[in-house]
Amino acid sequence: MRCSRVIELEKVFNDRKQLVKYVNEISPWLQGSNASSIMGGISQVERQLQDIDPIKYCRTRNFLNGKVTKLSPYIRHGMLTLDRLRNEALTLCKDPQQIEKFIQELAWRDYWQRIYQQHPNYVWDDIESYKTGFRADEYEDGLPEDIATANTGVACIDQFIKILLQTGYMHNHTRMYVAAYVVHWRRIKWQAGAKWFLHHLIDGDPASNNFSWQWVASTFSNKPYIFNLDNVRKYAHAEINTNSNDNVVLDASYEILTLSLFPNKGMKQ
């Protein structure tokens, strides 16, 4: 228990720089660094809602420069409800079927929240066994330094991690790539990766984040999620380095990757 004097904190600042400095002062347990370009505030929600295009989202959401809403930080902290976003999206189409994928993504979040509410322990426990041919104790507990600092030597993975560290945000597809790399290429427990994401992501939510890691790991899905370099090439933009020589461990067919990453799969444990 802390016995410090109660202080009413400031709310008015001349500019964002001054606010950031102040947050640094009132959070002495953290080594303050730079703020994200993603700004807080209800006014931001209203601004960004003007820009959503759910029909285009359905066509392009898997592309790293696709028309995603980037509203997740605002949803995470209750500034925007799934209900309101769905209602707003429905006003932008003639037929709800045109935006089914958009609404389904909101539904995924609602589903995760319901599981979290019902089974809070699922957030950190393996919900099911890994379906990778490995036992949970065959995965490492901690996140290696090279991953935490974007120095894995796999060019596109390092670029994705740098985006996370610099902005506090990642496109959903890159979250899946990085999660799969951590769990399946490096054989690290999903919990270590989930904790790391929760620290850095502004929209990090214990339910959406951790259950997605479990989905990738196969402890909350029927099979492990993996990808290859061709898949990254298909969805990435020109700034992402997808050269074979710089991404050697990803450059193979799914058949070869499955055999090399999960050599015990199908064998009796």
Partner: protein
């Protein structure tokens, strides 16, 4: 009688149903609770994001421990009840449970995305979606 609203990090907006439940005469507060924020292990970018949002809300930000601060505030302002947005976060739920031993608390649910039974038996998203799709694909009344 003035009502006290504890706005926590899962409900940072002023049209949350908790405001309707609490009535017009309200004091709304947020606790910059070091123990809580440390436990959540949020990075600096997230803290800036939350703080920026709080600056736009009609809420007093207090640098204090949540439970003790709320009790003190309720006493000082003669508030008989604390209104709190519902949350699935076990850490926040623990704080709510601690408060419930000490003074009257009303936990107010968020506007639902789809109205389904709470204890949904859905081991995969597919099971949930089968039940939720029809409701999810149409606008709600809210």
């Amino acid at each position: 009688m003035t009502a006290l609203i504890w706005l926590h990090e899962d409900a940072l907006r002023q049209d949350h149903p908790v405001y309707r439940a609490a009535g017009e005469d309200v004091i709304s507060c947020f606790f910059w609770d070091e123990d809580y924020l440390k436990e959540m292990d949020y990075g600096f970018k997230r803290l800036v994001f939350i703080y920026e949002t709080l600056c736009e809300l009609p809420v007093t930000i207090l640098n204090d421990s949540t439970v003790e601060g709320l009790i003190r505030l309720a006493e000082n302002k003669s508030c008989e009840k604390i209104y709190i947005p519902a949350t699935p976060n076990p850490l926040l739920q623990k704080i709510i449970a601690d408060l419930q031993h000490l003074l009257p608390v009303a936990v107010v649910e968020e506007t639902p995305f789809v109205s389904l039974t709470k204890n949904l038996d859905a081991k995969r998203f597919f099971h949930y979606w089968k039940k939720a799709k029809k409701l999810a694909m149409q606008p709600s009344d809210s």
